[in-house]
């Protein structure tokens, strides 16, 4: 008899196991009886798993082994990148087709430059549809799962929104150099019809053209971002396009941002438009506004 078996027999025949002092002799278990039963039970055979079955079980379990090695990636593979790098990552969203289409639009507009001038429209009239298209393209995929995935990254909603608008804004700003150059090189002061002073040097002319372009660009960028965060990209694009069309239609008015007629208030108006655009952009990127955007778009 093993020691375990002896302990077990002792347990079986103890007062506690047999029910205490009131227990009758007939129902009780003697040590000899317990030993006999246990000896017979010890002879009970059961099938045993084969070596192959055990090996198969181990193979099934092997993929479940914890992999502490993954921790090494977490500690060494991550780093906090500066904002500039974050902006560079936003280039991922813009396909070559978008860059070319935007450039093509501006070139097309330049080709129609003389028509624009005939109608009294400045080249700045091309800026709003360019930025409307850019923001629409940039933000249309930022919804649902894509938005939630980006927001769960270690970036703020403001950075997400800013990153999406900065690329089209900066690119359109650069593209604005084309009509400015075209305006000053090919047409010279003739781009600006009277009553612009004829003695204005080309450089100042270029600045005025670029100011007009930038003002229209920033104003509509701010408008598009604000409306996008409130109503969604397509509604924002529709409303902005309607406003652009309206302002373009009113270009004969001296205070129109797209008018070729430059009165005394023209420059302050452009600066005002530029400032308004910047303010709209800043206001749109405020935490509470973005929180409402996140709740609406991510729902």
């Amino acid at each position: 008899m093993t020691r375990d078996q002896a302990d077990l027999i002792r347990e079986l025949t103890s007062r506690e196991a047999t029910g205490g002092p009131g227990h009758t002799e007939d129902a009780g278990l003697t040590a000899a009886e317990a030993e006999a039963v246990l000896n017979r039970l010890a002879g009970h055979l059961v099938p045993q798993p084969t070596t192959a079955e055990t090996a198969a079980l181990i193979n099934r379990l092997r993929p479940l082994l914890p992999r502490p090695a993954a921790r090494r990636f977490r500690t060494s593979g991550l780093s906090r990148e500066p904002l500039a790098h974050f902006l560079r990552t936003q280039l991922h969203h813009f396909r070559p087709l978008w860059w070319l289409a935007s450039l093509g639009f501006v070139l097309l507009g330049l080709g129609a430059g003389s028509f624009l001038a005939d109608w009294g429209l400045s080249p700045a009239v091309l800026a709003p549809p360019l930025i409307i298209g850019g923001v629409l393209y940039s933000f249309h995929s930022l919804r649902g799962a894509a938005l939630e995935l980006e927001l769960s990254c270690p970036v703020t909603p403001a950075q997400v929104a800013l990153g999406r608008i900065l690329v089209p804004l900066l690119y359109c700003l650069v593209l604005g150099a084309l009509p400015v150059l075209a305006g000053t090189i090919t047409s010279g002061p003739a781009v600006l019809v009277a009553p612009a002073p004829a003695f204005l040097p080309s450089a100042i002319l270029a600045v005025r053209l670029f100011l007009g372009w930038a003002a229209a660009l920033f104003l509509f960028a701010g408008l598009m971002l604000t409306l996008t965060l409130h109503f969604g990209t397509y509604t924002a694009a529709g409303l902005s396009t309607a406003l652009w069309a309206g302002l373009a239609g009113l270009h004969r008015l001296p205070l129109s941002p797209f008018s070729l007629s430059h009165g005394a208030l023209w420059t302050p108006l452009q600066v005002g438009g530029l400032t308004a655009g910047l303010l709209l952009l800043c206001a749109a990127l405020r935490g509470d506004r973005l929180r409402r955007w996140v709740e609406r778009r991510g729902r």
């Binding site: 347990e11 039963v37 039970l41 009970h44 059961v46 045993q48 055990t54 099934r60 082994l65 090695a69």
Partner: protein, 190 residues
């Protein structure tokens, strides 16, 4: 036999948590047979016992991260096995449970077809005639070698209840097997 085979169960668990394949192999080699035997004696059905055994080890691995050294390993392993058995019984509750019908279930496969068949069949039948709780206590205490306290932890009952159930089980077996006890000398296990 390598060093790993000499390690305690608890140390093997700790090594498994660190991704050691050899520790996993050692532990499975050590307990595949005993867990299967426990579940086979509980269910009386080989295929069911095999399925439950695999599920036991799978669940053990999925919960290995919850193990805190040096918590005793064997009671934990058998708790998983017994819980799976209990779930299996609940799911199959409309089928006649083996203990309710001692004639159900397959006898163990034996190589020697001598009077051992009678003895093995008698033992299997006797075990199946026990109540669920009595059988589990007996299997864990006697065949798997857990202490009464450990058995209590596995089954969620006090150690005192374990002892009284065990005693009751053995007394029942004594009464069931007594008519054949005179043959015990002729049909000993190899």
């Amino acid at each position: 036999m390598g060093v790993i085979e000499l390690l305690r169960d608890e140390e093997l668990c700790r090594q498994i948590q660190e991704g050691s394949e050899s520790a996993l192999e050692a532990l499975v080699h050590r307990y595949h047979g005993p867990v299967f035997a426990y579940l086979y004696r509980l269910t009386g059905h080989r295929q069911t016992a095999e399925d439950l055994t695999q599920e036991t080890f799978t669940r053990l691995m999925t919960q290995i991260h919850t193990y805190h050294f040096p918590r005793p390993f064997r009671p934990w392993l058998y708790t998983i096995a017994h819980n799976l058995y209990r779930d299996h019984v609940k799911a199959a509750s409309r089928r006649a449970y083996p203990s309710a019908d001692p004639e159900r279930g397959q006898p163990p496969r034996l190589i020697d077809l001598s009077e051992q068949i009678t003895e093995q069949a008698a033992l299997s039948q006797a075990l199946r005639s026990l109540e669920d709780g009595e059988r589990a206590v007996l299997l864990l205490r006697f065949y798997q070698g857990l202490t009464s306290e450990e058995v209590g932890r596995v089954l969620g009952i006090p150690a005192g209840t374990v002892r009284s159930r065990l005693s009751r089980a053995v007394r029942k077996l004594r009464d069931l097997l007594e008519p054949a006890s005179s043959q015990a000398g002729r049909s000993e296990a190899p």
